[in-house]
Structure formats: C-alpha cells, structure tokens
Symmetry: C2
C-alpha cells in the first residue's frame, strides 16, 4: 500500500505549468490540472527596515521574557519547557531572549507534504505557494438557498469542487463543519472524505488529541506506518488562545502531530482591540511571540518535525465591535509577518481570501483580493482560506469558492512575473509589424497566442451588447452555474479498494466505540 513517492523537482513543476495545462484544457475541453504548487517567479514584498524588524523582535522577546505565555492543563508541555530551561511559574512560562530561536533551529525550512497521488505532493517553504480552501465555517451559502448549517454533503461537495479545479493545490481541512454528524465523530468523516474524493494533500482534526491521532492513523492506512513516520502526509492547524495562552486541546493536538512527524500549522488569531492591541506593530510582535512558542514546542516534542509559522491578523470595527476582515491593516501587516518568518527560516502560512461580506458581491472580492494579494506578496507558502471565505469565516460560499478558484488561477500567471528572453521581448514582431499596423495575425502572435494570456472561466470580457443579449448575468450568477456544472462533471480519483475498505473499517470501529456527542 506504500505509494511511489516522486519528489517534486521545481523544474518539473514549472514545466507542467499552468499555461500548458490551459492549452490542454482548451484543446481537450476537459478539466486539466495546473501545477502541484506554485514556485514564485517574483520576489517577496519586503516593506520594513532592518531597524524596525529588530524592534518588533525585541518587543516579542520582552513579551516572552517578562510577561510569558500560559500553557494550561498540559503537564507534558510544561515539562518540555522546564527541561528546555524556561522559567515556570504555575502555568506561566517565561523564555529568555534567544531561547526559542535556538530551539527552532531544528525545524526544517521547507518540507514536502505528500499526497496520495504523488503528482499532487506539495512543497511547503522557500519559494513555494500552495492554495488551500477556507477552513472552519459552521454555515454554507449559495445564492439559491441562502445561508444554512453545513452538512457532510456540503463538505464533500467542496472537496469535489476543489479537486476539480486546476488552480487549488490542496484539499484543506474543515472546509465547513458537517453539523449533521456528531461532534465527536465528524473528524473521521472529514478525513475520509478528503481521502476518498480528492487525491491531494489535506489537514486533519485538532479538536482533541484523540481526534488528531485518529486523523494520523487514517493516513497510516493510506501511506503505511513507516512512510508516515518518515514523511509529512497531513497537517494540523492549531490556534493560540490569544493573548498569550495555549490551552491543552491545542498543545496536545500540536504535540500529536509533531510526535508523528506531521506538520502543525501554528496560528495565533488576533483581532486587534480584542485578543491583541489595536496597533499593528504590537499585534505583530504578539503574534511573533505566540507563534515562536508554539513552533518551538513541536521541536521539543520531536526535533526536526515539520512545522509552519502561521498567522491570522485581523482588525475590528471600533464603532460596532464587529470583527473586520480584508481590511488594510492586516494586509500590510502580512508583509512584515513574512519578513519575520523568513528571519526564522520557517515555512509561512499567512493571510487568505478574507471578507466580512455576506454575499459573493463587490465587497467580498474587494476585501478578498486585497487580502489574498497580501498573502502572495508576503511570501506565504501555505495559504489557507484561499477559496470560499465569506461572512467573517462563518460561511463557506459555493459561488465565492468558484470566484476565488478562478482568482487563484490568475495568481499562477501573476506569480510567474515578467519573463525576459528574445521571444518575450518580441523585437522580430516589431520588425514585422512596424508603425501603425496591428499584431493580430503577425508571426509572433500566431506563435504565442495560445499561451499568451490568463484565461478566466468566471469573468465576462464580452462587449456590453453581447453580455446583455446573453442575459445580463453578474459574476455571482455565472459562478452559481459553474459550481453546479463542476459538481455534475466531477470524476472521483481512483482509490485502491482495499485501502477504502480499511478506512471504512477503521471509521466503523471508532464510531461504534463511542456514543454520539453533539457538543
């Protein structure tokens, strides 16, 4: 059952690039695949001076040394810290400046998350960019039926839509909460759905240590125990209970992933003014302190375990107290987070396609686009919430999922940057065309047009009259048609029957061993 693992060489990844895939898509009229992940062709956008980065790092160090972080109800974590030389005062742990950076030296700068289809394995770190769906909404939405609680059917629909898109690279985790499944058994159905309906990488449960272990056990059925012990095949997204608290649910899950050599994504969720200060520099310093502590704990559990430096900055409306998403402060703050993560030499998860809009409308894509561009500019390697995020993360939207996937496609082209070679410079085209003519049929155009420009499947570029004659549809209506078409045409990736049976058997046994719990 051990899969053939092909290390994704960067050049190979580029050669199988989106343009080729798009050309295939055009010629064959079917869903092609883009790239397993992006290798950015443009530099990161570094906005902060060395001097100011040092001041933020010094503030994080003082928070860690003078105020400290509480690790609640996890004696193993406290014991790790004690042995590492931290100062323990009850649950409160204080860290000498430099101590966490030293511990973090064993964490890999990049690693591969293996998918069950090895062509879909993703590199996380360095120049890689991996797009993963939104995560964690209790509700789902579409423009036909409006907002309602998510179900396992919705969950599977989103897994299928993601799998059908050439522009996402990852199946995500809790794409939406399947509230029709008991809380204590949900993780089994979610992990199974990711494995069954997708052949890309995915994320497991973190809501209890046992659920994290179940998630990892299911990957052992797919990949084999030895392979899992030696390679990353699953991620777990763990949140700090900001400010400055790690609770046992999260630290035990984090340690479960690290212990199994799987990657924890360590993410403070800081709404400025609530779980952090209202000033950006302070929230960034806090985020740095909290994330370094979580990442370092993975290394104490198992030195060398992969870990992702995560971040979720947000702001709030100071008139209403409501959280805001997709606003300018977190967007620009992401650039600084990126610089700080690179100074630690850790892979980065940052930002995403955030919005508070309750519809897939102009607000949704204005906020989402600013936020998503921040993610790719700041150098994020793993971009959770790349598609579907609406309603301040309370709802997963079918239409926005489609719009965002299309935007992820555009970002493949964007991140290629501007290539410079003789063909791209096109001097021969100017020589052929000369002043006052046009380039429609010239040799250079004919040789390049098929791969020339990003080709959207959602935006409408037709002239007004043609668009009007076709029904004056807005983007949400087009996206609505598209997700239905994608679901109708979805093809499940092959899954070995024995593996499938073993997974089902595991689930059945686990479910039978517990009474349903709904909280």
């Amino acid at each position: 059952m051990e899969p053939t693992v092909i290390e994704q060489a960067p050049d190979a990844a580029r050669k199988r690039g989106g343009r080729v895939a798009r050309r295939e898509l055009r010629s064959h009229g079917q869903q092609g695949h883009g790239r397993p992940y992006i290798l950015r062709g443009i530099p990161t956008y570094d906005i902060m001076s060395e001097e100011n980065l040092l001041r933020i790092e010094a503030t994080a160090d003082r928070i860690l040394a003078e105020i400290g972080i509480e690790f609640r109800d996890d004696p193993v974590a406290l014991d790790h810290w004690k042995r590492a030389g931290a100062k323990i005062e009850g649950d409160l742990v204080k860290f000498e400046p430099g101590m966490l950076r030293e511990i973090l030296k064993t964490a890999p700068a990049q690693f591969t998350q293996h998918a069950r289809n090895p062509n879909n394995s993703v590199l996380i770190g360095g120049k890689s960019v991996v797009f993963s769906p939104a995560y964690g909404s209790p509700f789902v939405m579409d423009i036909d039926k409006g907002r309602r609680y998510g179900t396992i059917e919705d969950f599977q629909n989103f897994v299928k839509l993601a799998q059908s898109s050439p522009w996402l690279h990852h199946s995500g985790g809790t794409i939406c909460e399947p509230v029709d499944v008991p809380v204590n058994k949900r993780h089994l159905d979610m992990v199974y759905s990711h494995i069954k309906y997708s052949d890309r990488g995915f994320m497991g449960s973190v809501t209890a240590e046992s659920r994290a272990e179940d998630s990892i056990d299911m990957t052992r059925i797919v990949f084999g125990e030895k392979f899992v012990d030696e390679n990353c095949v699953i991620l777990g997204n763990v949140n700090v209970n900001s400010p400055l608290v790690w609770d046992a649910t999260m630290t035990t899950a984090l340690r479960a992933y690290a212990r199994a050599n799987q990657a924890a994504v360590v993410v403070p969720f800081i709404l400025g003014g609530a779980m952090g200060p209202v000033t950006n520099a302070g929230a960034i310093a806090q985020s740095l302190a909290e994330t370094m502590a979580g990442c370092a704990l993975t290394q104490l559990e198992r030195p060398g375990a992969p870990v992702i430096f995560g971040n979720f900055l947000s702001s709030m409306s100071l008139r209403s107290g409501s959280p805001t998403f997709g606003t300018p402060e977190p967007a620009i703050g992401s650039m600084v987070i990126g610089q700080l993560a690179r100074r630690l030499n850790l892979p980065l998860r940052c930002s995403g396609n955030f919005t508070t809009s309750k519809l897939p409308d102009a607000q949704a894509m204005n906020e989402g686009t600013m936020s998503m561009l921040a993610a790719v500019h700041c150098g994020a390697n793993f971009i959770l919430h790349s598609a579907g995020f609406l309603d301040g993360l309370l709802s997963m939207s079918y239409e926005k999922f489609v719009m965002d996937m299309d935007f992820c496609g555009a970002l493949h082209t964007y991140l290629d940057g501007v290539k410079v070679d003789d063909n791209q410079l096109a001097l021969e085209a100017f020589q052929e065309v000369g002043p006052g003519s046009h380039f429609f049929g010239c040799g250079h155009t004919m040789a390049n047009y098929e791969t020339a420009f990003w080709d959207t499947e959602v935006a409408d570029n037709e002239p007004f009259e043609k668009w009007e004659a076709a029904g004056s549809e807005d983007a949400a209506i087009r996206a609505n048609k598209r997700w239905k078409k994608m679901l109708a045409e979805y093809q499940p990736p092959p899954l070995d029957a024995g593996t499938d049976e073993a997974l089902r058997d595991f689930m059945d046994r686990k479910k039978a061993a517990m009474a349903d719990a709904w909280y």
Copy 2:
C-alpha cells in the same frame, strides 16, 4: 486673482493625515477632507533584476533606432526632432540609443500641480500618490437606470461626488463624455465644471490643439497668466496611436501643454495582441519607447516643462478578441514599468481601477482591486482611473465610483505601512492585560482606538443577522444609496464671482464663434 500658493510640505501633509480627518469626520458627522495627496510610507515593489531591466531598455532602444516612430502631420514636431539630431525619413523618426534619455534630463523629477484651493495642490513625483477619477467613458451607469450615454449633468455629478470624497485628490478630466454638448464645445463645459464644482486639480482637453489652448486659457483666468507660465495648474492626457505612431492631434495638444509649462501625461494604450505583441516584456519595451519619445518632445517644445511618464498596458481575450482589463499580466507588468520610469527620474502614471465587468459586482472589484494595488505598488504618482471604471472603460458607474472611493480611503491606511514606535509596539498594553484577558477596555486601547483602524463607509461588517434584518443589501445597493446621499449633501466650494463671470464670458465668446459640430 492670483491665489496664495502654499507649497505642500510633506510633513504638513502627513500631519493633516486621513486619521485625523476621519476622527474629525466621526466627531462632526460631516464630510471631512483626507490629505491633499498621499506620501507613501512603504517602498515600491520592485520585481525585476537589473539585468532584465537592461534587456528591456536595450529592446526599446533598438525599436527606436531601427524601426522608429512615425510623427504624422505635425511638421513642427518633425522639425524639433531634426534639430535634436534624430534621423528623419518622411514621417518616420529614428533615434540613436541614449538620445531620448539625454533630452529627458531637463524634465523635472517631481512638480506641484496647483489647485485653485491651494490646500488641494498635489505633488506629482517622488513618493507622492494622487488618486484621480476614471476618464473618457461615453456611457454612464447606475443600478436604477442601467447604461446610457453620459450628459453634462452626469459629468457634473461625478465632479461633485469626487469633490465630496476625502479619498480622491484630483477632479480628473473627461470623467464621462457629455454627449449632449456639441463635440467642438464640450471641452469648455468640462473645464468650467471642474473649476466651478471642485477646487481640486483637474485635466484639460487634448482632442485638438485649439481645445488644449482653450483649456489652458481658462486656467489663466483663474490663476493669472504669470502664475500659469511659472507653475503647473492643468494636465493634458495624450495617447500614442500605438504601435509606434504619434498623430498630429496628440502631438499638437502635447506641445500646447508643454509650451504653456503645463504637464502632458504621455500614455501609450497597448492592448497586447492588437497594438502590441502578446508577450509582456515586448509590450513593456514598446511602451517605454513610445513614452520616452512623447516625453522628450515636451522637452524640445519647452525644456523643463513638467511631464508624466504614462502607461496603459492591457491584454485581450484570445478566444473572442475582446479587450480584457484587470488581468494578471498588466498588473505584474506595472511593477516593471514603475522601475523603468524611476530609472528615467520621471513622475509616473500607471494602472488604475480596471475591469471589463458590466456591473458593480464581484468581478468588477476583483479585477479592479488587483489592478489598483498594482498602481500603488509600482509607485505610480498619478493614478488616473482610480474610481468609477467599468465595462472596459466604456461606462462610468455611479455605484462603482462610490466603492472605488472607499477603496482609495483604505489605500491611504495601507500606504502608511506599519509604523514602529513605543506606542505602536504596545508593550505597556501587554503588561496591563497579561495572558488570557482581553484588550477591549485597556488603557492603550482607550488611547488609540479612535485612530486605530480604517473605517469603511461602504463595506458591511455587521453580523449576518443584523445585516439580514437591515434588508440583506449587497454592496451595490449600499453604494447606490451613498452616491445619492453624497449628491444631496454636496456643498460647492466658494468661487470668486468675478472669476466665475470671466469664465462664463470666455465660454460664451468661444461658443458663439463656432457652429455646433457633433463629430
């Protein structure tokens, strides 16, 4: 009638910043003013290596030297080139490498465009960012009445809306075509409307040399002849007839502005695959060649005249042949254009809020936001098309105008970057709050909350239930209400009665001297 001219010192501009204005806005409940312009607090986003920039410049030099640019029907322009040492072959002008760069050395790296209210004068160049409305649409749209031809009333409405916004800095030019006014007299009504209904900087006509001169003459009535001869008070946006042709309408208008010491904005409009090659690097090289030639011509007409290096890259749908706007290739290409302009030490106009959507919907703001962020990242100093652009520039949208102005507001905060000082780092807040508490009422929050976060006037950040109870409005509906409210509350800026009379008298005389022409 000579206005008191206060040079806008950068520090003063920053102190009158958007946050103060926003606080005033909140306290007084009325339209405040932002800043006369932005001085960016973040660096530009430079994506291309020195080596590749040199290759693009070398290609532009070869286009200029080997293929040349036609200057049609303007013997004065040809005479300028001849005296400057270019090689003339009929209308075709060829330039030795380095010649245009040498001529461009007399052009200022930055200049002030004076507004009739000196508080609204804008710096163009260096770290400045000036937001100006969209330009040139024959149609206007709103969600009540759909698309129809623009009128002078629409034109004035947009001038009033721009003037009412604290987040635009400029009144623009041909905000929409007032098709109910004869073609040969429109420019008079447009320039008058900018002066009458706004007290910000604006742009004049370029559709004929005489109309350019009329536009400038009207500024002489406002500012005085001597002041206009010594200072920039009006811009003229001139387009290259790409590929590689300058026609007399444009070069005579360009020379009229330069002769009067006013600033031409020199803009090739290159749709890749039509007026330029389908490859980005080639289109950029072409744009560089065409723009350098136009900018240099202003310096031959009057050395030292202000001029703006402009650019309008776009792509096309190679399936339908339709132009596309807000796509990834022009967005990333803008970063390179920015680097090239800075190497010439010229102020930059680049990108804007572009889209092909026919509605103020998700597509409009996805494309617009990517495109607009490219403008601010690439270092554009004068951003035409900052608000209202829809329908591939064929329509000016009332609702998108409002959405875009709000986004321009967000960009004020974004371009401030992340400030680092003791208050921003907030160590005292962490000391006060400690682990596991919240920052709602802490001293640091109380001291900073009023100025903490960007405060939108269009996006809805309320919880779903509250939003639903208020009518489930999308962003377009909210924007529709907002432009009506803004127009209803519009207050005209004071205009000296004698100046107003002199302007009207000038218009009346000019109009009486010509029969109406409708083409």
